[in-house]
């Protein structure tokens, strides 16, 4: 499912475990939400979250097989809507997490899986393996409202957004960097891990106040906060 560990440098590492596709079904989503809340509770000044996974996939999106196992088309659609609704609080939790967040994508990130990654402040991926892919146009699904708002908030280039959404582009490491979707692409898993940890330590060393960091992040993405029901940024001032 997923584990949450803390390194000696006060860095939380959330890992999606197992060699499978880490499909976002209610169980995994619940597990991630729970881990994020644990991290939030233990947060101190200088905390950082790194989210990563094991295996060939970061996450291949919602568990469509589970949806279809409902038996009928209307019931399948209901299960899918349910998962869309369940992921929203996870995105909300990440946007309001009182510490900087980094996603280390060491495999494919598709649809809801890509959304999970982009909910982090910084995203790194591998250069040799793994693609970013909004699969919806290919499999015949429309895009939930909060997905759209998140993509607009995080991917600046209109042509990049069009390629991702309307062309179903499968974007590899170097292209993802040039499209402005990720910070960096690293040669292999070990390099990815080193680079992510190193950036994490650098952010941790700034010893920012987590509550202030969270409110500034919310202020940076006002439209996203509205669609996630996060309300106005609060005022905090340490003067």
């Amino acid at each position: 499912m997923c584990t949450l560990e803390k390194t000696d440098d006060n860095i939380f590492v959330l890992t999606l475990t197992g060699d499978d596709e880490h499909r976002l079904n209610p169980t995994l989503i619940g597990s991630i939400l729970s881990a994020l809340r644990d991290a939030k509770e233990q947060a101190t000044s200088g905390s950082v979250l790194i989210t990563t996974s094991r295996g060939k996939f970061f996450s291949n999106g919602f568990d469509l097989a589970w949806a279809q196992a409902a038996g009928s088309k209307p019931k399948a659609v209901e299960r899918l809507h349910h998962m869309v609704e369940l992921l929203k609080p996870v995105v909300a939790e990440l946007i309001s997490l009182p510490m900087p967040t980094i996603a280390a994508i060491n495999g494919h990130a598709a649809a809801g899986g890509l959304i999970l990654a982009l909910s982090h402040d910084y995203v790194y991926m591998k250069r040799d393996r793994g693609v970013l892919y909004m699969s919806e146009v290919d499999i015949g699904l429309t895009i939930p409202d909060y997905f759209n708002v998140l993509l607009r908030a995080k991917i600046g280039s209109p042509s990049a957004r069009r390629d991702v959404l309307l062309r179903g582009a499968k974007v590899r490491g170097d292209e993802a960097v040039s499209m402005g979707i990720v910070e960096g692409a690293h040669d292999n898993e070990e390099r990815l891990r080193e680079a992510t940890m190193s950036h994490g330590k650098q952010l941790a060393s700034r010893k920012w106040d987590g509550e202030v960091y969270k409110e500034i992040r919310k202020g940076l993405y006002p439209e996203l906060c509205v669609v996630l029901g996060l309300g106005e940024a609060e005022v905090i001032a340490k003067l």
Binding site: G180, W208, V212, I216, A237
Partner: protein, 246 residues
């Protein structure tokens, strides 16, 4: 405080003195008064405004130590409200000014000082000294919504905006040009102002109608104007100051 002079066909507003040009009510009123004088000039063909400063600082932001130089929480809180209100008024004045505006940055511009710079249509920065710095995260303050709206208007890349706001990045001129925040880099302080004057003279030759220019700018920066009415970081919805949290 500040002076306003005409050089050729362009106006130069200078924040004088070798201090940090903290945006307290006195300086804010002085700048707004200079801008009011500009409005009485003919608007067609419109002139051009260049804003610059003496010394090591363009502006280091609000005068926080003035706000706090009292033992009364409610006076501190109303001082913040006053500076925020006057600063938003200044932003509105610049956004509706009937002539193109250029900020010639020859020193550090932090927090509200950076916002002040970004309210100009063009930013030319000195190459070797000074940085743009949205310092709030480092000093434990929240960035006001209208600053974010201004950043969204002026900085197209979400990653650049994130770096400015969520890492409190200190941007040198080269970094600022790379992130698309600054238009041009000048050499020394004098050269930077010269570059601004040259750009201003070029624009003067276009013989634009200042009122039309202003109206177009207000459309482009509409989202910033929408946020200028209220600053949630200094007042609550009911108009009371945020005394208790400061």
């Amino acid at each position: 405080m500040c002076t306003l002079e005409k050089r050729g066909n362009v106006y130069i507003l200078t924040l004088t003195g070798n201090d940090e040009h903290r945006l307290n009510p006195t300086l804010l009123d002085s700048i707004r008064s200079a801008l009011r004088r500009l409005r009485s000039e003919p608007t067609s063909p419109s002139s051009v405004l260049i804003t610059t400063a003496h010394g090591k600082f363009f502006s280091n932001g609000y005068d926080l130590s003035w706000a706090r130089s009292t033992t009364s929480q409610s006076i501190t809180s109303s001082r913040y409200m006053m500076m925020s209100s006057k600063m938003r008024g200044l932003a509105s004045d610049l956004i509706s000014l009937p002539m193109p505006t250029i900020a010639a940055i020859t020193g550090h511009a932090s927090a509200a000082g950076m916002a002040f710079a970004l309210c100009h249509d063009y930013v030319i920065m000195r190459r070797d000294r000074g940085f743009l710095y949205m310092s709030e995260l480092d000093i434990g303050l929240v960035v006001p919504a209208w600053f974010v709206a201004l950043l969204e208007c002026k900085i197209g890349n979400p990653k650049a905006r994130r770096d400015v706001v969520l890492t409190a990045a200190k941007l040198t001129a080269e970094m600022a040009v790379e992130k698309g925040i600054v238009d041009k880099v000048g050499g020394s302080a004098e050269e930077t102002v010269e570059a601004a004057v040259r750009l201003g003279e070029e624009m003067f030759k276009r013989k634009w109608d200042g009122q039309v220019y202003a109206k177009n700018r207000m459309v482009v920066m509409g989202k910033v104007l929408d946020e200028l009415g209220f600053d949630g970081t200094v007042e609550e919805e009911n108009g009371k100051g945020i005394g208790s949290k400061l």
